[in-house]
C-alpha cells in the first residue's frame, strides 16, 4: 500500500511497563494479558491518516530488560518518534525515566519527538504515580504526556497519532530533513521517483558474476 511518509518509532521504558501491549493494541486492537519477554526488538506497522495523507508508522518495540540495553540503544538512532513508557502502578519505573531520557537523547537524533506515556491507567486503585507528576516531568523535559491503558485501549490511538502529528508538523516546518533516512522518515514510493517500481528480481538484487564476497 502506498504512503506519503513512513515514520519510524521506538518504544522504550522499563521491563513490564506494557510496551509490547501498547504496540499490540495499536496494531492489532487486542490485549494480551500475559506477554512473553521481548528479546531484542519487535516490530509493528500501521497506516494512519494525517492531513489527508497516508502515513505508515513502523514501530520498533524494544526489550526493557537491562541485559538487552546495549542492543536496544542502537535502535534509537534512526527513529523519528519515541514512546517513553512507565507504569503508573510501579513507582520505580517512573524513577528510571531520567535515565531512559538521557539514553534516548544521547543516542538519537536531536529532533526526535518523545511522548511520555503513563501506562495501565485502568489500574487506578493501584496507582503509585500521580498524573500530575507525569505532567510535571513532561513539562520539565519538553515532552508530550499522556496516560494510557493498553488493556482498555484508552488513549492508545491518540498516543501514536499525536506523536505522528507532531512529527508531521516538524516536517512542514522544515525541521526534519526528510531526505536523510537517519531521521527516521522516509518518503513514500509514489513520492520518490528513484525508489518506485523496483521488482524483486534476483538479478537486480544480487548482481551476476563479478566481484562477490
Amino acid at each position: 500500500m502506498s504512503y506519503a511518509y513512513l515514520f519510524k518509532y521506538i518504544i522504550i521504558g522499563d521491563t513490564g511497563v506494557g510496551k509490547s501491549c501498547l504496540l499490540l493494541q495499536f496494531t492489532d486492537k487486542r490485549f494480551q494479558p500475559v506477554h512473553d519477554l521481548t528479546i531484542g526488538v519487535e516490530f509493528g506497522a500501521r497506516m494512519i491518516t494525517i492531513d489527508n495523507k497516508q502515513i505508515k508508522l513502523q514501530i520498533w518495540d524494544t526489550a526493557g530488560q537491562e541485559a538487552f540495553r546495549s542492543i536496544t540503544r542502537s535502535y534509537y538512532r534512526g527513529a523519528a518518534g519515541a514512546l517513553l513508557v512507565y507504569d503508573i502502578t510501579r513507582r520505580e519505573t517512573f524513577n528510571h525515566l531520567t535515565q531512559w531520557l538521557e539514553d534516548a537523547r544521547q543516542h538519537s537524533n536531536s529532533n526526535m519527538v518523545i511522548m511520555l506515556i503513563g501506562n495501565k491507567s485502568d489500574l487506578d486503585s493501584r496507582r503509585e504515580v500521580k498524573r500530575e507528576e507525569g505532567e510535571a516531568f513532561a513539562r520539565e523535559h519538553g515532552l508530550v504526556f499522556m496516560e494510557t491503558s493498553a488493556k482498555t485501549a484508552s488513549n492508545v490511538e491518540e498516543a501514536f497519532i499525536n506523536t505522528a502529528r507532531e512529527i508531521y508538523e516538524k516536517i512542514q516546518e522544515g525541521v526534519f530533513d526528510v531526505h536523510n533516512e537517519a531521521n527516521g522518515i522516509k518518503i513514500g514510493p509514489q513520492h520518490s521517483p528513484g525508489g518506485a517500481g523496483l521488482t524483486n528480481n534476483q538479478g537486480a538484487a544480487g548482481g551476476q558474476g563479478g566481484g562477490c564476497c
Binding site: I39, I71, G78, T199, N200, Q208, C212
Partner: protein, 646 residues
C-alpha cells in the same frame, strides 16, 4: 552510502509454497514414514523455463517467524542493522539462541540464511523375545522394569508397540515377535552465507535438511540396526570393513552436500537461482554432534570456558594447494568441463590447465613477480610443493596468480573469496569468461563430537556462525562473551533463564556489528566492526546429552548387537534408574503419522522424550511451515524435563 537503501517491492512473495522443496522422497528400505516419495512433483516446474520464475522467494529464516513483508523489510535496514532473534524461542530445540543482522549496505538483502530442523527416523523392527521375563512380560505388566539392559523393553518409550496393549500379536504372524517402531530423533542447525545473490543460500536453507533426512534414511539399517539381522549374519559373514554409525552419518552429510549442489545446478536452468553460498551444518544424532562444513563459516565449542574448533575455515588461502592442484598439465587438449554438472571430465589425469584460460598461473610466488624480475631467480612453489624453491622467472610466470591475497582478502581467479559451498555454477572470473566453479567444491569436512560421553555443564555450547562474526570476534573472545552473557541469567530466574542463549547470540552479533560512529561501524574497543551480514547460533549441549541418555535408556534392550553399545546401555540403564513413567502427551489436534497415533495408545508405558514436546515429531512429512504450526500449538508449554538417567 549507507542510507541509500531503497525499499524493494517484494511482489513475488507468496506465489510459491514455502515448503515446496520439501518432499523429495526416496525413502530407504525399511522406512515407514509419511514422507512423500513424489520427488518430481516436489520440484515441479511452476512455469515454463522461458519465464524462469524464482526457485524460492527471498525470505528470512523460517525460525524467525517473520510474518509480513513489513517485517522482512525492517530486518533489511542497513542504517540501523537491527539484531533480529526468533519471536518465540521455544521453537528452537533447547531454547537455543539465534541472532542475525544485515550487512551495512554491501548487498540489498541479507545473504546469510539459516535453518533449524527437528527430525525423526523411524524403523519398524521385530524385536526378539529372549526370555519370558523380558520384553513380553514388561509389556503386560506395563509398569516395572527390572533394570537389565534388555528389559526396559518394548513397553517403554521410543520403542512402540503397534497394538499398544497387552493383546497377543497380530493373528497373521503368531510366531513372529511383535513389530515395534524404533524412532531416533535428530536435530539440524545450519548457516549458509550467500554471495553474488541470495538464491543459493535460500535454496540450501530450504532443502539441505531434507536431503540430509533422505540420506539418513538410506543408512537407517546402520543407525537403527536390527538385532535379528545381525544374529543371522554375524557367524557367517564378516564384513571387510566395519561401517560405524559415525561413518554412515558422515557419509549421509557428504552425500547431501553434493546433491544439494547438483540440485542447484539443475534448478538454475529452469528457475532464477543465482549466487553461491557456504554451508556449515550441525547434526545431533545418536548422542553425537556431527559438524559438516564447506566454506568459511565456523563452528566452535565453548567447552568449560575454552574454545574448541569444530570446523576448519576453507578459504582460497587455506585451500591454496587444492585449488592449484587442479590445473597443471602439459597436455590440455583432451579435457573438458561438463557444464551441466561442472564435473571435470577425466581425460588426462586430473590436471586441467585450460581452466586457467591462459590468463592465470597455478604457480605460487613468495611475492608477486614483476616484469623487471624476468630472468631472475625467484622463490616459487608448484602444486605438488608445500615448501619453496627457486626458479628463473619466465614471461608466463607474470600471469595473474590463480590464488592470490591473504586471509579474508584471498581470492581464486581474482574473484571469489570462498572455495567450498553450493552454487556459483555460472560465475566467471572477473572480466573474463573463465568459469570459476571447477575450482570450488561442495565437499564438507565432517567432525564428530561425542556429546554423550562428554562431561558437560549448561554453559557448554556450540557457537555456529557465518564469517561476519569471526572476522571480528576471535574464538577466545567469543567464548568469553558467551560466558559473560550466560552469567547475566541466574538459574533461579526461571522465567528469564530460557533467554540466556538468545541473549548470548545477540551479544555475539552486537560484538561484531558494533555501533555506527559517524559513518563507520566500530566495535566497543573502537576498532573496525564488520560490514558483512552476521548470523549466529548458540546451542547448549547439555540438553541434548540428557535427552539422548533418556532416549537410550528407553530403548532398553538396544536394537543392536554391538557389544560396545550393550555395555553403554547397561551403564545407562543398569543402575536401577529408569525413566519416569510419564503419561503420553496430549496429541489431540496434532497431525501425526499413523505410527505416532498408535503409540499414544500405549498408555502409561509410552514415554516420549519430554523436551521433544515443543517440537514437531512428524517431520518426515513436513514442510517447515507445518512444523512451525505444530510448534505453535505447543507454544507456552514449557517441556518438563526428565531426570538424567545416567
Amino acid at each position: 552510502m549507507l542510507n541509500r537503501f531503497k525499499t524493494a517491492l517484494y511482489n513475488v512473495v507468496g506465489s510459491f509454497d514455502q515448503g515446496e522443496g520439501g518432499a523429495m522422497g526416496g525413502l530407504g528400505p525399511g522406512m515407514t514414514s509419511g514422507l512423500s516419495t513424489n520427488s518430481v512433483g516436489g520440484r515441479a516446474l511452476t512455469g515454463s523455463s522461458k519465464d524462469k520464475g524464482l526457485r524460492f522467494p527471498y525470505t528470512r529464516p523460517h525460525l524467525l517467524q517473520l510474518g509480513s513483508e513489513d517485517e522482512i523489510q525492517v530486518t533489511a535496514d542497513h542504517a540501523i542493522r537491527p539484531i533480529i532473534c526468533p519471536r518465540d524461542i521455544s521453537r528452537l530445540p533447547w531454547n537455543s539462541g539465534y541472532a542475525e543482522t544485515i550487512n551495512a549496505g554491501k548487498s540489498k538483502k541479507n545473504e546469510d540464511q539459516a535453518v533449524v530442523h527437528v527430525g525423526l527416523l523411524t524403523r519398524p523392527l521385530r524385536l526378539e523375545q529372549e526370555a519370558p521375563s523380558s520384553s513380553s512380560s514388561s509389556r503386560s505388566s506395563s509398569t516395572l522394569q527390572d533394570g537389565r539392559g534388555s528389559s526396559t523393553g518394548t513397553g517403554a518409550g521410543g520403542i512402540k508397540i503397534e497394538e499398544g496393549s497387552a493383546e497377543p500379536p497380530p493373528p497373521e504372524s503368531p510366531q513372529l515377535p511383535p513389530l515395534v517402531h524404533v524412532s531416533l530423533p535428530y536435530y539440524i542447525f545450519g548457516v549458509f552465507d550467500g554471495h553474488a545473490g541470495w538464491g543459493a543460500a535460500v535454496a540450501a536453507a530450504n532443502q539441505l535438511h531434507h536431503l540430509v533426512h533422505e540420506k539418513l534414511c538410506d543408512v537407517i539399517d546402520i543407525l537403527i540396526p536390527d538385532p535379528l539381522e545381525e544374529k543371522l549374519q554375524s557367524p557367517i559373514w564378516v564384513p571387510e570393513r566395519e561401517v560405524t554409525m559415525e561413518s554412515a552419518v558422515t557419509g549421509a552429510l557428504e552425500n547431501a552436500f553434493w546433491q544439494m549442489d547438483h540440485m542447484i545446478a539443475d534448478d538454475r536452468l529452469r528457475f532464477q537461482l543465482t549466487g553461491g553460498c557456504t554451508a556449515c551444518v550441525a547434526l545431533f544424532i545418536r548422542g553425537k554432534l556431527f559438524l559438516a562444513n564447506a566454506g568459511d563459516s565456523r563452528a566452535i565449542l565453548s567447552f568449560g570456558g575454552i574454545p574448541v574448533p569444530m570446523s576448519f575455515d576453507f578459504t582460497p588461502e587455506s585451500e591454496n594447494q587444492r585449488v592449484r592442484k587442479l590445473t597443471p598439465s602439459k597436455d590440455p587438449n583432451r579435457l573438458r568441463i561438463d557444464h551441466l554438472t561442472n564435473d571435470i571430465m577425466e581425460g588426462d589425469g586430473a590436471m586441467h590447465p585450460e581452466l586457467l584460460g591462459g590468463e592465470f598461473t597455478h604457480l605460487d610466488f613468495v611475492r608477486r613477480p614483476q616484469r623487471r624480475d624476468l630472468g631472475k631467480r625467484v622463490l616459487y612453489r608448484d602444486h605438488y610443493m608445500t615448501g619453496w624453491a627457486y626458479k628463473t622467472l619466465t614471461p608466463d610466470d607474470l600471469k595473474y596468480p590463480l590464488v592470490c591475497g591473504e586471509g579474508k582478502r584471498s581470492r581464486v581467479l581474482a574473484t571469489i573469496g570462498v572455495t567450498r559451498g553450493f552454487g556459483d555454477h555460472d560465475l566467471k572470473a572477473q572480466c573474463t569468461s573463465i568459469p570459476i566453479k571447477p575450482f570450488l567444491t561442495p565437499e564438507p569436512e565432517v567432525r564428530v563430537l561425542d556429546v554423550e560421553a562428554a562431561e558437560l555443564t549448561d554453559g557448554d555450547v556450540l557457537v555456529l556462525a557465518t564469517d561476519g562474526l569471526w572476522d571480528i570476534t576471535s574464538n577466545d573472545r567469543a567464548v568469553s562473551m558467551v560466558g559473560k552473557s550466560l552469567s547475566h541469567f541466574l538459574p533461579d530466574h526461571h522465567d528469564k533463564h530460557k533467554y540466556r542463549y538468545t541473549s548470548a547470540a545477540q551479544d555475539l552479533v552486537m560484538g561484531s556489528r558494533g555501533k555506527l560512529k559517524e559513518r563507520n561501524w566500530r566495535t566497543s574497543d573502537d576498532k573496525h566492526a564488520t560490514i558483512d551480514d552476521i548470523t549466529v547460533f548458540v546451542v547448549p549441549l547439555l540438553p541434548y546429552q540428557e535427552e539422548h541418555r533418556a532416549w537410550k535408556a528407553r530403548q532398553g534392550r538396544p536394537p543392536k548387537g554391538k557389544e560396545a553399545f550393550m555395555k553403554e546401555t547397561v551403564q545407562a540403564s543398569g543402575n536401577g534408574l529408569v525413566p519416569p513413567v510419564v503419561p503420553p502427551r496430549d496429541r489431540d489436534g496434532l497431525e501425526c503419522s499413523p505410527i505416532e497415533k498408535n503409540s499414544t495408545q500405549d498408555g502409561p508405558t509410552t514415554w516420549q522424550p519430554p523436551s521433544m514436546e515443543a517440537f514437531d515429531l512428524h517431520t518426515q512429512e513436513d514442510h517447515f511451515k507445518s512444523e512451525m504450526d505444530t510448534a505453535q500449538k505447543q507454544r507456552g508449554e514449557e517441556p518438563a524435563r526428565g531426570p538424567d538417567t545416567a
